[in-house]
Symmetry: C2
């Protein structure tokens, strides 16, 4: 998860105890969109297929409509695509992240001067 | 960590691979400030003394000056106080968090309408 290695604000949208959307799930959505497959996305992110599948399941349950649609009957993992709704959720999420990051850009620069190196 | 159960943007300030400051460390600083003790702060946050001590150690190493000063020679944990520098770091961090949250308040309200309940 390359995104974790930045200092931009990480937004986690919670639904009860569950993280409906966060940096890891957003990255997974982007990878599924690019690869068309949960297992390929999992490989890209160096996580197990099982974990990727669980993250997708959580997202699909937490939102009103599915974000990812999986094709059944295929090989392990089959094909997967990000729905129109999922693309809208992802776009909104990334926009929030960008906006939050921009809002503290100057303060973050000052803050980082307090670090030891 | 009560702060985790909110949807405000969580800011993690990284120094290399380490989290110099984040929601958990900020909460710990606040608890040390209130209780004057690492062990009491750990209890409040339901974490082990060892873990709290390690978080303090990471903070103190990641910043130019110590954020927490510990009194040696006392009982386990002894006394601890947040330095003036630590209070400044904490204030700046909390201000960034607030600013980031305010910047996406409207978008977050809209986003949450996409959740399933």
């Amino acid at each position: 998860m390359t995104r974790a290695n930045t200092t931009r604000p990480a937004i986690r949208v919670l639904l009860g105890e569950e993280i409906a959307m966060g940096p890891g799930k957003a990255e997974l959505l982007q990878q599924i969109r690019q690869t068309g497959s949960i297992s390929a996305a999992a490989r890209e992110m160096e996580m197990s297929y099982r974990r990727a599948w669980m993250l997708v399941d959580t997202m699909n349950r937490c939102f009103k409509k599915p974000l990812v649609q999986t094709a059944t009957g295929g090989k392990r993992g089959g094909g997967a695509r990000v729905t129109k709704f999922g693309k809208d959720v992802l776009r909104r999420y990334l926009e929030m992240e960008q906006r939050a990051a921009a809002s503290v850009e100057r303060e973050m620069t000052e803050f980082r001067r307090l670090l030891s190196r």
